[in-house]
């Protein structure tokens, strides 16, 4: 009996490599004293190996383990993105955790485990692997959110995330059950071949609706966004950076892949539901963002709004929208990692130095840092020549292409709102006098990562074809 072929092993090599290195990291952590630094290097090596595996499998276009996993193309593209995010958030985390005296090896092991889940999500060709990936990622996130176990806010964040996340997972699983009930398979590739027949079954539509709730929660779309501000604020800053970029990108990669199945019908009702979800997220996210005084909370609401922009790409169901999402995820990940990296450097013990006022006069105190943060804010607003602009352009254009011009107009108007709170930080940095003259330490590792992120958004903003050429072979 043939159970698996070498293609299967090669196709799942990024997952296997990450799994192997997380086990090694765990053992190093258990058997060596004061091994946090060692675990950091082991994990980094693991991520580099996994990146190598993903790039190697990129030209392949196959499935592994009897159509359970996708190999190459789409999966590789997103895997590399997640792995880079994981690496960057590790770089941001190391100096931060050392300063907060919470530098333990478990942190990096959890990051690796979450990344396994993410890679699995991007490569899932089956609803079961998607579920497995989502759980693996989320469970690691629950633990990471509560990583500062001595801090009340961190505990609160973890508990809220866990309770609501577990509830949302229930919806997802029930949806999968209904899809299985109406088609007899959980495999996306096989469900597509059955269309349009199962689409007439109301239970099938309900199934997709329930899955939509599950994914809506994971990508933080309104009305499933309630957990976002509290969780993002309470979690340690590097964890927030990882969750808001890696977690969102992973959730979107699987959202896009699974919903390409029902959206292939171009069903008017489903498109409207998604469009309304997108519109609500953009409106509420940007609206509530206006009144925030805490930067982490502001970025949490901004993350809701950006989920809205990206759902436009799914609602439009065009290749342009899909490419727009993929590009937007790259630019959003780099921008947010950079912004959170700066916040992590500015932050003082016990959650101090997180408000707008604390950034007053930063333009004079640390010109380089202020310039980088200004760039990230411009990119989030969607001002050229930064990558955020190109992403937004593609998403809005895809809405127009699908005859949802109202959604594009709505998107532009709500991004106008967002200008206020993104640019406000720039006003504070450059046009207000500093009230706080404490020395700001810039740890080299974090600062280098932030500079890399900044270089990335400029590069992809000026030469977006670097990514779009890659995507021609994916979608």
């Amino acid at each position: 009996m043939e159970f698996f072929s070498p293609t299967d092993l090669l196709g799942s090599s990024p997952i296997l490599a990450l799994g192997l290195f997380s086990l090694i990291a765990l053992l190093v952590n258990a058997f060596l004293k004061n091994s946090a630094g060692m675990v950091f290097y082991v994990s980094a090596v693991g991520i580099f190996v996994a990146i190598g595996c993903s790039i190697y499998t990129f030209p392949m276009n196959a499935t592994a383990f009897s159509d359970m996993l996708l190999v190459g193309g789409y999966a590789s593209f997103f895997s590399v993105l997640f792995l880079v995010i994981a690496l960057f958030s590790m770089f941001i985390a190391k100096p931060y955790l050392e300063r907060e005296q919470y530098h333990y090896g478990e942190y990096y092991v959890l990051i690796l485990l979450a990344t396994i889940g993410m890679v699995m999500l991007a490569s899932s060709a089956d609803l079961i692997t998607a579920f497995l990936g989502i759980e693996m990622m989320s469970v690691s996130f629950y633990v990471l959110a509560g990583y500062f176990r001595g801090k009340l806010s961190s505990n609160e964040s973890a508990l809220k995330y866990f309770l609501l996340g577990a509830f949302a997972t229930g919806f997802l699983l029930y949806g999968i059950a209904l899809i299985y009930g109406t088609t007899g398979t959980t495999n996306l590739l096989r469900i597509v071949t059955m269309y349009p027949q199962p689409f007439n079954d109301p239970l099938h539509i309900i199934g997709w609706g329930l899955i939509l709730i599950g994914f809506g929660f994971k990508v933080a779309a309104v009305p499933f966004h309630m957990w976002v501000p509290d969780v993002y604020e309470g979690a340690p800053t590097p964890v927030t950076a990882f969750m808001s970029t890696g977690g969102k990108a992973a959730a979107f990669s699987v959202f896009l892949m699974t919903f390409s199945v029902p959206m292939s019908m171009r069903d008017e009702r489903l498109m409207t539901v998604l469009a309304v979800l997108a519109a609500a997220s953009m409106l509420l996210g940007n609206w509530f963002g206006l009144s925030q005084t805490n930067l982490k909370r502001m970025l949490a609401y901004s993350s809701i709004a950006h989920a809205g922009y990206m759902i436009i790409g799914i609602a439009s169901a065009t290749p342009m929208g899909q490419q727009g999402i993929a590009f937007y995820l790259v630019s959003y990940a780099l921008t947010n990692l950079g912004a959170f990296g700066i916040i992590a450097m500015m932050e003082k013990e016990n959650g101090g130095n997180l408000n707008y006022e604390d950034y007053a006069g930063l333009g004079k105190r640390k010109p380089a840092l202020a310039a980088l943060l200004a760039m990230f804010m411009f990119s989030l607003t969607g001002i050229p020549p930064f990558a955020g602009f190109i992403g937004k352009y593609y998403l809005f254009a895809s809405a127009v292409q699908s005859h949802m011009t109202w959604l594009a107009i709505f998107g532009v108007i709500t991004s106008l709102f967002s200008t206020y709170y993104y640019l406000r930080i720039i006003v504070y940095m450059y046009f207000k006098e500093a009230t706080n003259h404490e020395e700001i330490k810039l740890p080299g590792l974090t600062f280098a990562t932030v500079i890399l992120c900044g270089a990335g958004i400029v590069l992809f903003g000026i030469v977006p074809s670097l990514i779009f050429d890659l995507m021609k072979s994916i979608f």
């Binding site: 009996m1 086990l23 765990l26 053992l27 258990a30 058997f31």
Partner: protein, 117 residues
């Protein structure tokens, strides 16, 4: 929808029977209230104090770890039943599975999660 009728019938009948017995015992059964009947049952002994005590968090740790390794055995069961059919492939897979759990076991052992004090 047709095939669900027996299920709805079943739900209806069981709900009806449940209500009927509850109502009947109210009318037919003897009614002799006694405070002893309301107290907690502890094998005939009078209860000492409230059951709502605080437990050491160590119990939870042990309980959670127990569940983990208990589930491992549940996964071993179907494999053991189909051992011949799965052959060498199943054997290698199971060894891998146990090795992964072994890493977890070594981790908790070294971290002192199984030490009571």
């Amino acid at each position: 929808m047709q095939s669900y009728i027996p299920i709805f019938l079943m739900i209806g009948v069981s709900a009806f029977l449940g209500i009927v017995f509850l109502v009947l015992q109210r009318f037919l059964g003897p009614h002799r209230p006694n405070p002893e009947k309301l107290s907690t049952y502890e094998s005939g002994m009078p209860p000492v104090k409230s059951a709502r005590e605080r437990f050491s968090v160590k119990y939870y740790m042990v309980a959670v770890l127990f569940i983990l390794f208990d589930i491992e055995v549940i996964f071993l069961y179907p494999w053991a039943v189909n051992f011949r059919a799965l052959g060498l492939f199943g054997y290698v897979e199971m060894i891998l599975f146990i090795l992964i759990l072994l890493v977890g076991y070594l981790y908790i052992l070294k971290k002192g999660a199984l030490q009571w004090d």
